[in-house]
């Protein structure tokens, strides 16, 4: 008797299984389930573009409609990864063009995307709908024009914090008159001015437009006419908010804002003048997301705005908000889930707002019961504050504290911040992401290793005393997936002793630590399923095994060593003649 589920039935069941985590489990049950699952998966996510080859992915998921890729390691955001390291989108786009021409959606993060890539997308995927590029670079506005002109069913075009070679604003004018399907457009990271009349026409022929994020060059006056054309927007990123408008223009703008009944998310607001803040009052009660991190608004005006935002779930703001402002958030924004506070001074320490201290975060932790994600830049902190925060908010999932002065101790007791982070790790049992800073000894990491069982991503800078620190983390944190470390005094022993752990993680980044070249070679030899990349822009001519490496990036991979490495990236496969025979192999 054949007890197997007919594949048609299984297919039907699987059509209800959306989560890739579940689908991954399904594919492990048996061969026929693997086959059915892979033939029906539409949305594929590859979180390290070098973990697998594009061809393998295309072969396995022929019905792919949506592909998400991530390239460079996270620390590339802070210029710690030299230019030319890799993360090229081209091989993926080429492979998909050949094998999955029905691809509709592409989401890329931290990858090098060239104009040729964009042209290839435009030419290859007939039903292309969604392009979201986050922290990508390598392309110019010419490439955008290619997408605009060719993708007749385009729904989403979003450029988030990309580095784009801006050759002018003409690209927007390439959207044909026949394109009416636009749902989301984000060009906030571009510099050049687009032609307002073309933008207006695009907006007015896009009845489904829900999200519009303008760049700084779009004036306040222009904003008014755009809002009148799209009162249905759910997400709005304004342009510059600082032109001097006459009374009539101001009241028209105010009217336009009050017509926006669906608005949930507001961002942009560059250079916003205090006298224009009241224009936003009418949309405040409906907002769930507010990004003021580019708005140099002072505390009193911020307070006026935030008292009206009772439904806010996500708030990004600069430290101009001060402790006082955060107290207002604590009492007004009871639905708050995510808080990010960024520094307002480019010089870091010397002109950072000192009226914002650890107290601000403590207030929010007291007042906002749903707070689960925090990113907080602050000059200094105390253990007591962290203990209080942990006690108030054991439901924290993400805690990223950046004490901007490296090695800063508890500013009241002068002790290391070990106890504070211990409280966080111990009490917040669901903590998945943690960034530590300030003066920390090995003890802090012993605590984190002991308690941080659900921790998936950990970022460390200028901390610890010895190899023990790394050892505690690698041996203790069972769920550890991504670990990134800079300027910490350890390396070899902990790394080699915990080599097996590295295969259970996505990646490990260490820069300006004490990892020796010999250890890298040994690790490479021991762990063939890892790519161990030594990234050294100034290598010595003869590299003794004891010499420290500048950076090391280790990740598990099925694809073997990559073929697109620049000169300054070394792997053992590149120079196999430099053997490790004279070193003891465990």
């Amino acid at each position: 008797m054949d007890l197997r589920l007919p594949s048609k039935v299984l297919e039907h069941i699987l059509s209800f299984v959306d989560s890739n985590e579940d689908r991954n489990s399904v594919s492990l049950v048996c061969k026929s389930w693997f086959e059915t699952e892979r033939r029906t998966r539409k949305r594929v996510i590859v979180r390290n573009c070098y973990a697998v080859t594009p061809e393998a992915v295309a072969r396995r998921f022929p019905e792919m409609r949506s592909l998400t890729l991530k390239g460079k390691p996270h620390f590339a955001d802070y210029n710690l990864v030299p230019d030319g390291w890799g993360g090229y989108a081209w091989p993926w786009i080429e492979a998909m063009a050949a094998k999955c021409p029905s691809l509709e959606e592409l989401r890329l993060k931290r990858m090098v995307v060239t104009d040729e890539c964009l042209e290839k997308i435009a030419a290859s995927f007939k039903d292309f709908k969604v392009l979201v590029l986050t922290s990508c670079e390598g392309f110019s506005t010419d490439g955008l024009a290619a997408i605009a002109v060719a993708c007749s069913n385009l729904r989403e075009l979003e450029l988030r914090e990309c580095i784009v070679e801006d050759l002018g604003g003409d690209w927007l004018s390439y959207f044909p008159e026949t394109l009416t399907s636009l749902v989301s457009l984000d060009f906030s990271c571009l510099d050049s001015e687009v032609k307002l009349s073309d933008l207006e026409r695009l907006v007015s022929r896009s009845p489904n437009l829900k999200s519009l994020k303008l760049n700084r060059a779009v004036s306040l006056d222009a904003l008014g006419s755009l809002l009148r054309l799209a009162p249905q927007l759910v997400e709005l990123g304004t342009g510059s908010f600082s032109d001097k408008l006459d009374q009539e223009a101001v009241s028209k703008l105010s009217q336009a804002f009050s017509e926006m009944k669906e608005l949930k998310s507001l961002s942009g607001l560059w250079d916003v003048l205090p006298e224009y803040i009241p224009l936003l009052y009418s949309v405040c009660p409906g907002l769930t997301s507010l990004n003021l991190s580019y708005a140099t608004v002072q505390m009193p005006d911020l307070v006026e705005l935030l008292t009206r935002c009772s439904n806010l779930q996500k708030l990004w703001v600069m430290d101009l908000i001060e402790d006082k402002g955060l107290q207002v958030v604590a009492s007004s924004c009871k639905e708050l889930r995510e808080l990010r506070v960024f520094p307002s001074g480019a010089e870091g320490l010397n002109d950072t707002n000192v009226a914002m201290t650890e107290q601000g975060l403590v207030s929010v932790s007291e007042g906002c019961p749903n707070l689960e994600s925090v990113l907080y830049f602050c000059v200094q902190f105390t253990n007591a504050a962290m203990v209080t925060i942990a006690r108030n908010r054991p439901n924290l999932k993400c805690f990223r504290l950046c004490v901007m002065e490296p090695f800063a101790p508890d500013h009241k007791t002068q002790k290391p911040l070990d106890e504070g982070f211990k409280a966080i790790a111990e009490r917040c049992k669901d903590l998945q992401r943690l960034s530590v800073s300030g003066l920390l000894t090995d003890k802090a990491f012993e605590y984190i290793g002991t308690h941080g069982k659900k921790l998936r991503m950990l970022s460390i800078a200028f901390a610890g005393d010895s190899d023990l620190m790394l050892h505690h983390l690698l041996s203790g944190c069972e769920s550890l997936n991504k670990l990134e470390i800079r300027d910490c005094p350890f390396g070899d022993t902990a790394l080699l002793e915990n080599a097996a752990k590295l295969e259970t993680m996505r990646s490990l980044w260490m820069s300006s630590c004490c990892v020796s070249f010999g250890a890298c070679k040994l690790l490479s030899q021991k762990m063939p399923k890892l790519n161990v990349e030594v990234i050294d822009e100034h290598p010595l001519e003869t590299r003794p095994d004891s010499s420290p490496v500048e950076r090391i990036y280790i990740y598990r991979t099925l694809a073997g060593p990559r073929l697109d490495m620049p000169e300054f990236v070394w792997t053992i496969q590149k120079n196999p003649e430099i053997g490790v025979s004279h070193l003891a192999i465990k």
Partner: protein, 242 residues
Amino acid sequence: MITELEMGRAESELELGLGLSLGGGTAAKIVKPGGGGAWGERGRLLTAKDFPSVGSKRAADSASHAGASPPRSSQVVGWPPIGSHRMNSLVNNQATKKEDDGKKQAKDDETKDVTKKVSGKVQVGFIKVNMDGVAIGRKVDLNAHSSYENLAQTLEDMFFRTSPGTIGLTGQFTKPLRLLDGSSEFVLTYEDKEGDWMLVGDVPWRMFITSVKRLRVMKTSEANGLAARHQDPKERQRNKPV
């Protein structure tokens, strides 16, 4: 603890080869930004002594950075960890605060330069180089070159050299190029600030580097229209040929 670590490192540094700095010492050296992380001098780990204390005492050894001008933490690459877009915005805000309206234009240009330095990615001196038939563009630092020959050599190395374990970007060509003398299959061209495409080599080097915006290694057959020094702007192509 930090002191012991420094001493330990100083000892091991004595064994290492040429080019390493010896001794952590007490004189904190300024770490230069850009490119290579915090390794301003090879082999030295930044410690608490590299960072000025702002009104707070040190838990560690109080043996100080007296005598050396303390470097600012803002000179450490990638610290504080703020993305480049945000950094640029902060810098622009600084500049705007410090000026009056009359001087705004001059300041805008200045902030653009500052912006370029801060972002680290749009670097003064680095320009894009594309080659016909090669999808992946590269960047080259003009400031690191002193002549056309120099530049041509770098480009040849970049696009054509094959070394063990690395496939040259084109994957095929291994002959040296001679981009400048018209004898090869390719010529070197550049786009100037006015948007015109011209053959490289006609103007003095110093003039060239101030006016070049980007480079292109073009097939000689396609470059015929550039023989004249000046190209009609209307002929400038919108999209690069594939």
